[in-house]
Every structure is written in C-alpha cells, then in structure tokens.
Amino acid sequence: MDINAWTALLAATIVAGTPILFAAAGELLAERSGILNLGVEGMMLVGAALGFIVTVNTGNHWVGLLAALAGGGSMAAIHALVTVSLRGNQVVSGLALTIFGSGLSGFLGKNYQGIPMNYGFKSLDLPVLSDLPYLGAVFFRHDILVYFSVILALFMWYLLYKTKWGLAIRSVGENPQAADAVGIDVSRIRYLCTIAGGMLAGLGGAYISLVYAPTWQENMTAGRGWIAVALVIFALWNPTRAVLGAYLFGGVEALTFRLQTMGINLSSFFLAMFPYLVTILVLVVVTIRRRQDAGAPQALSVAYDREER
C-alpha cells in the first residue's frame, strides 16, 4: 500500500470518528451527571433525519444543524423527565428512546429516502496547513465540524476538571446526596447534562446525513450510537481519551471499506466486532482492578430521591 492510500485512510478515519465523537461526548456528559442514556442511537437518528429534512427544505445546512440539535435535545428531555423527575428505570427508558427514535426518524424521513442533497459543509482550505504534504490531507482539509468536535471534547475536559461547574457535575454523578447537602441542584444538573448530551447526539447524527454520507436512509446511523456508548466506557469517562478512542473506532470503520483493496484477507465483520470487544475488555480490566478514580461514576443510573428514608 502506498503512502497516498495511507493518507486517504487516515483522513477517512478522522471523518468516520467525528460523528462518534460528538455522540460520545454528549453521552459522557450525561453519564458524568449520573444519567445513563442508552437512547444515543435513537437521538442520532432523529438528528440525522431532522438535519437532512430541514436542510433540504430550507436550503441552509446551518438551520438543519439547529434542527438536529433541537431534535436530539428534545428526545433527551423525555429521558430526563422519565428518569430524573419520575425516577424511572434508566436502562429501559434509554432503550425506549432508541426504539422511539428509530421509529420517529423513519416516519418523518419516509419521503426523503435517497434524495440527493447539494448543500452541506465544505472542506476548509486552510492557508499553508492544508497544503502540507500528507499531513495536510490527513488533518487540515476537513469541514469545520471536524475541528469543532475536537475543540468541543477538549472544552468538555476543561469544563469537567477545571471549573466549579465540572466539579458540581461530577459530584452529582458520584454522590448526589453529597451534592444536594451543599446546595447543588441535582435535578437541574442532570436535566442540563442529559439534554446537552442529546443535542450532541443529534449533532453527531446530522453529521452523518449532512456530511459523511449526504443523504437520508432509514437507520443510517447503523449502530454508531451504540459504538458511542461503548466509547464512553472505553475512554473511562474522560473526554480527551474519547477523542483518541473515536479515531481508533473511526479508523476501524474506515478500514472495513478498504480491506479488500488493501489485499488483507480478513472479514470486515470481525473488524465490526472490534470496538465492542475492546470495550468489554476495558470494562472488565477496570472493574477487576477497582480503580476508584477511573471507573464509572458511582451513582450512574441510580435515581435520586431526597426524602428517601
């Protein structure tokens, strides 16, 4: 394989990793506040469908993006209502969200199947950087959302570990009683994190329908929502590690399309298992080693009831 094929693969890796990174960053935020949302796939689908439909109808992909944010956020708001205010089971509610989301997106997008789209995000042409040999092709000829996703993940790391709001969010996910006792509004933080997480999942979905494969197909996210859920665990709930993980998983996805041309005799289906298998491995190792500071938030998927006696 020549160097051009490699640069193409690496560039494709970054593009494939981007929607996963958006969704995983969102899920990470929600999980840090103690809310497990298994509805990522559904929220991504609604984001993808709305993003596409609105872009086609308005001719403006930025408006489409806003619609995707709103769609993902509203879906997450249902999950927050059910699990935070009504203390429903988070696993079941998340699954319901995924089923509901794939239904709703299919229902809404029925008449948009396979329509071509001519709007969308163009690759940036950065002075000097884009023209760098090889590096330019790999890193500096992407659309703006690619860069935004990385900045977002880094910002989220800063938010979680370097600000008092991050301290509050993490405390709610670790020990809501402790947070409540010092006057932190547990419900509000959980609502905000869950909804923001949903918006990012919607954004990840829209990235697929507007940039990655600019079209709408039923179930077009094809399990990327679940990969995002896996990625959060793989990254041990740390946004910077999520960036690396997203490109690792993205790289695997990019590789599946190129196996044959690269002359590698490995079924792409075994590659498809890879993200799930390594996530299982990471979760098992972390749990067995009982790393206090590296595991899941202690109160993840536990409802909080102040007057529980």
Binding site: L95, A96, L104, F269, A272, T279, V284
Partner: protein
C-alpha cells in the same frame, strides 16, 4: 405557586398496578393519533388498517401469532434475569447465537437425520449457544461485579457481526444470487406448522416455557431463592443461599431461553439463517417483559399485543404510512409506562405554599 410533589406510598396501589399499563397503551395510541394527524394522515383510517391487518382475519391473527412467538420466548428469557435484578439486555445477541447454533445443526445434520433427532439437537445447540452468551456476563458479574448491562449490550453486536460473517461468507447459499442467506433447511429441521398457516410448534413451546417459568419461580425451592436474591443479596447470604452460583445460573438460563427464541425463528419461519434474523425482538422483548411486570402469563398476552403491532405496521404501509409508526408506538408505550410507575409507588399531590 402550586408545585407537584411526590409522596412515597406505604403500599403499592393495586388499582394503579392494573390501570397504569392499560392507560399507557391507550395514551401511546393517543400520541400516535396526534403524530399521524400532524403528518397529514387520517388516524381513523390508519388505526383501522392497523387493526384489520393484525386481527381482522384468521390469517391476520395467525401472522400476529407468528410475530408474537419470539417475543414471548425472549420476553420470558429477560424476565427471568430481571427477576434477579440482572439487567440482561443481551437477548438480541442471544437470539442470534441461538439461531446460529441451530442453523449449524440443521445445515450439517438436516439432510441425513430425521426430525426427532434434528429438532431436539437444534434446540439443545441453540440453548447452549444462547447460554454461553449469557454466561460470559454472568461470570463477570458474579465474580468481579462487572456491569452486566454493558457487557450484554456489547455482546449483541458481536453476535450480529458473527452471523453476518457467516451468511455473507462461509455459509452463504451459492444460489442466493448474492443475498446474505444460507441454503434452506431440510424438512427435518423445520418446525411443524398448523394447517396452512405459518403458526408453528414454537407457540406450544413458548406456552410450556411460560408455565414452567411461573411454577418454578412461585413454587420451587430454586424459584424462592431467585425471588429472595432479586430483592436482597445480603438476605440471600444470610439465608445460606449461593448468590454467586445463582447469578451465573440465571444468566445462563436466561441466555439459553433467548437462544431458543432464535432457533424457533430459523426453524419455524425463515427455514434458513439470514441477515437480520431478529429485527430487534430482543429489545422489544424487554418492553414486553416490563409491560407485563415480569409476570410470565402476562408476557404471553403482551407479546401478542406487540405481535399485532408489528403485523399491523406492515398493513398501514398500504395507506402510505411508514412501518416506523409501530416503533413510535412501542417507544411511547414504554415512556408512559415508566412515567406511570411513579403512580404505583408514589402519591402525586399538588403542594401549595404551605410553609412561610
């Protein structure tokens, strides 16, 4: 300012326990009505089609039954794990593994042996494969407290990819014209059906599993242990029960039953292994189990309702509505149910300004 306030009930409200699921279903249809109307459809017509498609004729009822069978079996499978508060959301993967193992038997022995050998062997193989898929998270949970929700979920995709690999690769029917399918099973590997309908022996099997499930949970020593362990592992240890062993055992049986659901599907309906052998039965089964409050006899009925929804979903496509509407309805039912559960355990009161 009036504010909503929740007060934990001393006792579960028995009225709410019945009303909540029924109301949830009705409310979901009401929401579906609004969505349909907003999308410019005629809800009356759509629901009429849905009803006729699912229950309007004996053929429709038989098709509903066909869809309900895997939901019953998988619903029972997850209920067993849920009884012990083990969140097995891996029924989907366990179904795929069961289908895979059963197909392996069917493809290798189907031609040369009779149904009395092949069908039981397929069943045993499916149970064993599903059981393995349940046992892995079970062992990890029992010995190291690894979160079973995530592991079972991740294993779903491993199983699906594995089946994809086989039907696209080594097991692919050379005459399939490129479709991801295995060759059709020999008659000996096919479950007998009722008359000329597609309703197959799996229905009886589902009923039998439900009855065994009910009797063993309510009336056997092991069932008593499961009920105790599901409520409190500290109490179980105090009673001298082996919690570690039972976590593994329950995950094994739960996975095994889900595996049977996969076998039933390939042996009773498709008669071959193919891509997407389960269109999410494993997830829908979780809704079914939840809606039935883990009661095995209720699972049979709720599975029938959801089977009707699936079959009706195909019928509404005639009037230009996407099949997806059934998923919208399914998800909505579950939301209302989860939201409604609070009425079972809590009293909801309007709290006015009471303290200065």
């Amino acid at each position: 300012m009036a504010k909503i306030k929740l007060i934990r009930r001393e006792k579960e409200s028995p009225l709410a326990r019945v009303l909540v699921p029924v109301t949830s279903v009705l409310m979901a249809f009401a929401v579906g009505w609004i969505i349909l109307a907003l999308a410019g459809h005629n809800p009356v017509l759509v629901y009429q089609k849905l009803y006729n498609g699912a229950l309007g004729s004996s053929y429709a009822v038989s098709e509903t039954m066909v869809k309900a069978i895997p939901l019953m079996v998988a619903g029972l499978a997850v209920s067993l794990a849920f009884k012990m508060k083990l969140w097995n959301i891996g029924a989907e993967g366990q179904i795929y593994m069961g289908a895979l193992a059963a197909s392996w038997i069917a493809l290798n022995l189907g031609q040369s042996s009779g149904p009395w050998l092949v069908i039981p062997l397929m069943m045993i193989a499916a149970f064993a494969a599903g059981a393995c898929w349940g046992l892995v998270p079970g062992v990890l949970k029992a010995y190291w407290q690894v979160n079973e929700t995530i592991i079972t979920l991740m294993l779903n995709y491993v199983a699906i990819s594995w089946v994809d690999y086989l039907v696209f690769g080594p097991w692919k029917d050379p005459n399939s014209m490129g479709f991801p399918l295995t060759p059709i099973f020999a008659p000996a590997a096919q479950l007998p059906t009722w008359g000329d309908s597609r309703v197959h022996l799996g229905l009886i099997l589902a009923m039998v599993i439900a009855i065994i499930f009910y009797l063993s949970i309510q009336y056997t020593r092991w069932g008593y242990e499961v009920r105790v362990m599901g409520e409190s592992s500290a109490a179980a240890r105090y009673a001298g029960m082996n919690v570690t062993k039972n976590i593994m055992l329950v995950m094994l049986i739960s996975g095994g039953i889900a595996g049977i659901a996969g076998m039933i599907e390939v042996s009773g309906i498709t008669h071959r292994l193919q891509q997407g052998i389960s269109p999410g039965y494993g997830y829908t089964a979780i809704i079914v189990a939840w809606l039935a409050r883990l009661n095995p006899l209720a699972i049979i009925m709720v599975a029938f309702l959801f089977g009707a929804l699936l079959v009706g979903g195909f019928a509404v496509q005639i009037v230009g509505v996407s099949f997806s509407i059934t998923q919208v309805l399914q998800g909505t039912v579950l939301f209302f149910l989860l939201a409604g559960e609070i009425f079972i355990n809590y009293k909801v009161v309007l709290a006015h300004k009471e303290v200065l």
